[in-house]
């Protein structure tokens, strides 16, 4: 299989996966009673009307009386044409709510991702170069600490120390602050720090163990014998082969954290981003918005996995396309 065919197959597969997830979502939704219909029935019963009739009218209004396959194709079409409906709780289209929230999510996600991607491999290779020294042990301890401490718990503690006791950072996130300002940097420092400690541990461990392999490789001995400076030797001969296996775990790690922990961190630090939007939609029983935000996260996950696979094959020519 050539590279072009592999890419096509992989993209098609991503489309299939996303379609399956959307289908499962649809089935889950259609199997359950619609809260909006129930609300309408309750309303009618309270006002002395006929609840069954009101429920029927509400169902008709939402097109729920149509056969299942019609609704399914409508659903699929709307999802893929990005017509995600109207959010009742926020009185705006779901798409608009998601884009607005994304603006705040991006403000901490981008620095967090960049820091993890740059610092993780660097510290990992550094601690492999000084293996079993106190620096290595310190880095390993830090990695385990960051990996094991629940992000939301860590966030609460740091907020208590720096926000309540020391009063260095504001306790609630201020939305009116310009993106590139000292104030914004200060209020985002702790959330970014919490997320980086959570994600960097795994990256550090993998890059440490992977690069340990290359340190005593023949090409490294040759480089040293030729008198290549240690910095250059590590940058060119250890870092590069390390990055290849690392890239497989990296995207998955970041995505898992992005999907789960960002929700918690946003709730803890009251950042009005995507995670908080999901949370509020859940509490407000806003079906369209819940669906919109979860589907958005799902698509991010599917596309992230796709990019990871493609980048991996571009980076490492040794991988054959046949066994995937």
């Amino acid at each position: 299989m050539g590279f072009g065919r592999y890419v096509t197959a992989r993209v098609l597969w991503a489309a299939v996966v996303s379609l399956i997830i959307v289908t499962v979502t649809f089935l889950l939704l259609s199997a359950a009673p619609n809260p909006a219909v129930q609300r309408a029935a309750t309303q009618a019963a309270l006002q002395g009307g006929d609840p069954a009739e009101a429920a029927e009218r509400a169902r008709e209004l939402r097109g729920l009386n149509q056969p299942l396959y019609v609704r399914y194709f409508d659903f699929i079409r709307n999802v893929y044409t990005l017509e995600w409906g109207w959010s009742v709780s926020r009185s705006q289209p779901v798409m608009e709510a998601v884009t607005q929230a994304l603006y705040y999510t991006a403000q901490y996600s981008i620095p967090w991702t960049i820091l993890t991607v740059i610092l993780g491999p660097l510290v990992g290779v550094y601690s492999a170069a000084n293996m079993y020294s106190w620096k290595d042990h310190a880095a390993t301890g830090f990695a385990f600490f960051g990996y094991a401490i629940p992000n939301f718990f860590f966030g609460i503690i740091l907020l208590l120390i720096f926000g309540v006791w020391l009063e260095w950072i504001p306790i609630t996130y201020k939305t009116g602050v310009p993106v590139f300002s000292v104030q914004n940097a200060i209020q985002l420092a702790i959330p970014v720090f919490v997320l980086v400690t959570g994600s960097i541990g795994a990256v550090m461990r993998v890059s440490r163990n992977e690069s340990a392999e290359f340190q005593n490789a023949d090409f490294m001995k040759t480089a040293k014998a030729k008198g290549v400076s240690p910095l250059r030797a590590y940058a060119y001969h250890v870092m590069r082969p390390t990055l290849v296996p690392l890239s497989t775990t990296l995207v998955g790690q970041l995505l898992a954290l992005f999907l789960g922990a960002s929700l918690l961190v946003e709730v803890v630090f009251s950042i009005p981003g995507l995670g908080r939007l999901t949370y509020e939609a859940l509490l407000a029983q806003d079906t369209n918005l819940v669906l919109g935000t979860t589907l958005f996260f799902t698509f991010v996950a599917v596309i992230g996995n796709l990019i990871e696979d493609l980048v991996f094959t571009v980076l490492d020519p040794r991988i054959s396309y046949d066994d995937r």
């Binding site: 600490f145 939301f152 208590l160 006791w165 789960g260 949370y279 996950a301």
Partner: protein, 394 residues
């Protein structure tokens, strides 16, 4: 060990080893059957014959009630006892070897001790301790050896010196806003954590192993479809799916365990498949095939034991993720609010953080140490159980 003879090839009792009949069960299986049968009967009795509000043991006058989750938990405990603990006792030589290897990793030994405490606490604690009671008058008691300003708790249980209320041994980790004892709540949370750990690993192992071997032995396009299915399972965003299910149907702890374990077995299945494919090429498999071993016997006797070390490691490293997810959901207040888990306690104490930090700190630190311990344990098990992996471990 000079006094003890090591096993010798010519002294092996072959009649003991080769059980021919299908119904000729090992002592482990007999024990499992004998203990699981009354449990199942009790479970059926509890669900079918007693009302939802009558306690399970009312017929012998006990107030103890068992939910379906508890039955599952006891079942997994029995499994762990008959197929994990007892074999270790039956093979003292291997156990000693594992222990020797395991002991070299000191953090892992400490971790094992900690998890042992959590395990025993979770099992025995709820039996000997009364559930935490709401006592508004003694809310916000500080932990022992610490003190808070006299005005924080309504009435101070301990001594008041210089306007500061001191903690007492009556409430070693303090109390919450409603006067519930934090220590008791943490012990009750241990049960929840152990239930999550045991039940999820059992489900993940069962589905993963059966799916993986089935896929490997079916081969061809069935194998292909099954593995693509695993791909989908692996790329499913579980946390979000659970949020969606929770939103649509509402979900308790049982649902949490089912959903999370149904989406976690992908890695295990993949590993088992590749292991059984590679192992079926080995000479000893061919030898046992020629001597008439059935596919089931090959899987049970060779594939699973050979893959066991990696599976145990994998499962150990899965557990912290489940515990964390449960704590996160409980913290968000959208988990099962009837379940007294650690996350629930953290979320309850969050608003009182500035003047009563122990309500959040105590369960948070316990959760942190438990997750850390599982991680260390997984690392050490990889080295101890699988000497081959030492060279190739990432």
């Amino acid at each position: 060990m000079a006094t003890e003879e090591s096993e010798r090839f010519d002294k092996v009792d072959w009649n003991d080893l080769s059980r021919s009949g299908r119904f000729d069960l090992s002592i482990n299986s007999i024990g499992m059957l004998l203990t699981a049968l009354p449990l199942t009967l009790l479970g059926v009795y509890s669900t079918a014959f007693t009302g939802p509000r009558t306690a399970t043991f009312e017929f012998i006058g006990l107030e103890q009630n068992l939910e379906s989750l508890d039955f599952f938990f006891i079942f997994t405990l029995l499994l762990a006892f008959w197929y994990l603990a007892l074999p270790l006792y039956q093979n003292p030589r291997m156990t000693r070897y594992y222990w020797k290897e395991f002991k070299r990793n000191r953090p892992a030994v400490v971790s094992l001790g900690w998890l042992g405490i959590v395990f025993v606490g979770g099992l025995v604690g709820p039996l000997i301790m009364d559930p935490p009671q709401q006592q508004l008058l003694i809310g916000y008691q500080p932990p022992v050896f610490t003190s808070v300003v006299d005005t924080t708790p309504a009435t101070c249980v301990g001594d008041v010196v210089n306007g500061r209320c001191f903690g007492t041994w009556q409430h070693p980790l303090g109390t919450t806003q409603g006067g519930k004892d934090v220590f008791t709540m943490i012990v009750y949370g241990m049960t929840i954590s152990m239930q999550i750990a045991f039940i999820t690993t059992t489900i993940v192992a069962t589905i993963g192993i059966s799916f993986g071997t089935l896929s490997a032995y079916a081969g061809g396009w069935i194998d292909e479809i099954m593995m693509r299915f695993v791909d989908i399972i692996l790329s499913f965003p579980t946390f979000l799916m659970f949020l969606l299910i929770l939103y649509i149907y509402g979900a308790g702890l049982g649902m949490f365990i089912v959903v999370f374990s149904l989406f976690a077995w992908g890695g295990t299945a993949r590993y088992i498949r590749s292991k059984s494919l590679s192992i079926s090429e080995e000479e000893f498999i061919k030898a046992s095939r020629i001597s008439g071993a059935s596919t089931y016997q090959v899987i049970r006797g060779h594939v699973v034991p050979n893959a066991a070390s990696s599976i145990i490691t994998q499962l150990t490293l899965l557990i912290p993720g489940f515990l964390l997810a449960e704590a996160q959901l409980a913290f968000l207040g959208i988990g099962d609010s009837a379940v007294p888990s650690w996350g629930q306690l953290i979320s309850a104490g969050r608003s009182d953080l500035s003047f009563a930090p122990w309500i959040v700190l105590a369960p948070g630190i316990v959760l942190f140490f438990t997750i850390l311990a599982f991680n260390f344990l997984g690392d050490a098990l990889l080295d101890a159980l699988n000497p081959e992996a030492e060279a190739e471990s990432e």
